[in-house]
Structure formats: C-alpha cells, structure tokens
C-alpha cells in the first residue's frame, strides 16, 4: 500500500498498462474497478487513451459523456462536471478521454493536478493506459503508486510487458524519487489447454521472464467479450463466470487479502467430458 496511514486514509493510484495493444487493459480496468466498488471502495477509472477511447463503451457510459479529461486539464470544465457516475454501482465513477483530440492535449502538470484532486475523494484511482510507450502511456504511469501489468501468455506481449516494466522503473515519479513502484502481473486470455499443448506460454515461463508477483490469471472467456458489447463490466454482468471470479479475487488481493492464485480450469466440452478425453500433458 502506498505510504503510511491506514487503508482508508491513503488513496492508491493504479496504472493498468501493458505495452502491447489488445491484451485486456481496458477490460481489466473496468472489471477491477467494478470489483473494488462492489467491495465498498470509492473508485474512479480514468481513460488515458485520447482519441481512441474505449473505457466509456466498456462501462456503458458512452451516451452520457459531456466533458472529458482533456477538458478538465485545459480548464474548460471542472472535475465534478466531467465525472460520470455508474448507474449500477454508486461508488464507481468514470473520467472519460476525449475522442476528438489527441494525446498532445494532455500535459504532465495538468494530469498531476487532476490526480491530486481525485485523491481527495477516492480510494482507488485506476488509470487505463493506452498501448505503446509514447506520451499517453508515460503520462498514465507517471503518478502511479502501483502498476498492474496486463500480459497475454505469448511472446510479443511478454517482451512488450518487459519493456513497460523497465519504463515503470524509470519514468514514474516514484522511480525518480528513488521509491519502489509496486508492480503486479495480471495474466489475461490464458488458455490452459493450449498451454499444455505448447501452443501458448506457460504461467511459469511468463513469470520467469517478467519476474514480478502474480496478481491473477484470467482465462480466455467469451463472457468478457459479451460484457464489453453490452457495456457492463463482466464482474457485474456475469458474476458467476470464471472471468468475473478471477477479477474479484484480484481485487481482493489488491485490498490485502491473501488468496492463492489458481490457473483457470480447462474448459472441457460436453463430448470430451462424456468420453473422458484428457488434453495432452
């Protein structure tokens, strides 16, 4: 946890980042945010992907966006005007990105001000980073106390995540002040059958290369895609699904609970269960 004081006093700024695109940052930001809010925490998720915003869609708030992060940074709107409260969870808020502008509209000083203001009202500030290593990504991580590195178990995602970890250790305020920035790995789109067949990296291989603690494993799941298209984070839309359970466990670990990480079980079809076929070891 950041700094001293009890959990309720200190707010935590979390950056959800990956390097590689399409691995599940926005999905995870929304799902973790919702899961934390379901545990009673006051949460705001901020979309840093200026020009290609997605967080509002995944949260189902796209028809209520009036002001965005760029407006607040540039002083055109006050923060409360831009924050959108979730209709389903009263302690969950969204600060959307601008769709018509680009990342150069954001300044470090402006983002810093916004985050400081948010710290006063929220327990968790989740920064959904864009893909890449340019300004959008570096600004999203700049003020973080904790990083969740989202990685798919495949080689290019792992290498990009390694790059991002290197940047987390050097381009953040905490790193520049000589403090340690806590980093945790969220392995997404994991398919145990394919890993067993050697078509996908194993969890141990990813952990060996990235060498950061594991926050959780979210298995490949059609429930996640459904939830995105319906505009509701999977932890709310389908709480019984494996993905929702994985995100809920991850949120509880962020809150300090110790829960053993389980690899998601193989999804065995009806026929294979009937005939007792096992995947190749």
């Amino acid at each position: 946890m950041a700094g001293e004081g009890t959990v309720s006093d200190m707010s935590e700024v979390v950056v959800v980042t990956s390097g590689k695109g399409g691995v599940g940052k926005t999905t995870s930001s929304a799902s973790l945010g919702a899961a934390l809010a379901q545990e009673g925490q006051k949460v705001v998720v901020i979309d840093f992907d200026v020009g290609l915003r997605n967080l509002d869609l995944v949260m189902g708030a796209e028809r209520r966006v009036v002001f965005d992060l760029v407006n607040v940074v540039q002083g055109d709107a006050k923060l409360p005007q831009a924050l959108i409260r979730d209709k389903r969870l009263e302690t969950l808020y969204l600060l959307p990105a601008s769709q018509t502008r680009d990342k150069d509209a954001l300044t470090e000083e402006g983002v810093g001000r916004v985050i400081e203001e948010l710290r006063e009202g929220f327990d968790w500030i989740i920064c959904d980073s864009p893909a890449g290593i340019e300004k959008g990504a570096t600004l999203a991580m700049r003020f973080a106390d904790l990083a969740v590195v989202v990685t798919n178990p495949e080689v290019s995602s792992v290498r990009d995540s390694d790059r991002i970890i290197g940047m987390l250790d050097s381009k953040t305020r905490r790193a520049e002040n000589g403090e340690r920035l806590e980093k945790q790995l969220l392995l997404t789109r994991y398919d145990p059958a394919r890993a067993a067949r050697g078509e996908m990296m194993k969890v141990e291989d990813v952990l060996e290369i990235l060498a950061i603690p594991l926050l959780g494993i979210v298995g490949e799941s059609p429930d996640v895609l459904t939830a995105s298209n319906v505009g509701c984070p999977v932890t709310l839309h389908n709480p019984g699904s494996a993905a929702a359970r994985a995100y809920r466990d991850a949120a509880r670990r962020l809150l300090g609970e110790t829960i053993a990480v389980e690899a998601p079980p193989e999804r065995r079809g009806f026929m294979s269960r009937l005939f007792g076929r096992k995947a190749a070891a």
Binding site: R159, D162, R163, G166, D169, A211
Partner: protein
Amino acid sequence: MPAQLYPGPSLATASGSGPETDPDRLSPPALRVRGRSIMALVIAPEPPFGDWFAALDEQMRRSAGFFADRPVVVDLGAVLENAGRDAIPVALEGIEERGLRVIGAEGVGPNLLGGTRWALLPTRLQGRDVAQSPPEPTSPAADPDAADPPAAAAASLLVDRPVRSGQSVVFEDGDIVVVGAVASGAEVIAGGSIHVYGALRGRALAGLKTGAEARIFCRRLEAELVGVDQFYRTAEHWGAGLHGRAVQVRCDRGALQLSALD
C-alpha cells in the same frame, strides 16, 4: 633528451688506459639506454588536506581511467608554504594511498625530503608544461531509460536486478556483472568481460577496451547476439545445441568461440 651511455673509446682516451686499451681485460657489454619523452600529471596539493583529498577522490571516482598508470609529479610548493615541511610526508602519503604513482616532486629542495620515505624522489625534473584537458567523467550510463546501476568500483559494474527490454547498460571502464536476466531487446556493453548470473536473452558486447581477451559468461544462453572485440555472432549461428545452457564466449585466434560451461 636522448642520452647514450657507452663506455667506449672516448672514456678510454680520456683516462689513458682502460678496458679498451688493455687487451687482457674483457670489455663490459655495451649498455644501451634510450631516452623517452612522456607526459606526467602534475598535481599540487593544498591544505586543508581534507578538502583537497575529497576533491581528488571525487575526480578519481568520476573518471577512473584518467589517473590509471599515469606517472605523477607532486608540486609541494603550496604545502611547504602553507603548512610547513612536516606536512610534506602527509601529502605524499595520501597521494600514494590512492594508488597514484609518484615519480617526482617539485617546489621543494631534496633536503626537505631527507629522512622520509621519499628521500630519493627526483626533485629537479626538467620538463615543460603542456596543455592537459580536464578528465571527462566516464561514469556508467544506462539509457534510454536511465535505469540506474549502483556506483561502480574502478574495475566492474554490478547490476543486481534484471536488465529490462529496451534498456542499455554501457560500462567502458571494465567488466559488467548482472545478477538477474538480460531481457530480449536489452543490451549490455562492456569495456571488459560480461558475467550474467541468469539468462542472457538480449545482446552482449564485450571487450570494447580490453579487446580479444574479454569474455562473456552466462548461466543460460538465449541471446540474440554476442560479440567480443570486433567479432560478433547472432543466434542462428550457434544453433540449438548451446541454447539454454551455461556458456562461455571468447575470442580464439580471430574467431568467436562458444563453449558450454557445464
């Protein structure tokens, strides 16, 4: 100034008799002595010694190679004037402690060194001052992300965490030791040898200064490219046989040799 010492005919002529003119005595072998002009560094300690030696230490820390193997002449004029002759051995002691090679002193007469360890130090070295540019700091750099390696001893740089993809660790003054893995897309470049206590997955280039005698050692070879001195190889050259094993890379008769260590 070149000088030649040669007990030759001129001596014999002067003395009238000698080895050359006496056939029963063998002439001593001719001793050839050459002259050479070299540049020594002149340093001038000034009291208070605490401050001056601190400044010297800082200079030596920042540019480890600048003083290495350079002959040093100590100008003791300021010491004598401000602190007296008893301070002379203190100043010389402090300089020698730091590994500097003192070959002469100036600003003092030889009688002032009498009775000390430095009684035989030349004090009448003839020479001319020449322009000497200030030493440039050669502190180890790691860019583009400036992941900061711990302060280096004069001969080796220790990096005790993994080198992440995109990071570049460069240390021209000696060896690099990495405790951890070197990620794919990272590079380690050393003036001397490279020792990786972990998997080497990126690039390693050794011997920028020490040339072909440098080596690369790693616990697991999964590198993309290795090089020693001017020779390099990419992973497709050494194939699958050495992949994943503890390997040593060295330069042998003008070619790169990779061999398993286990």
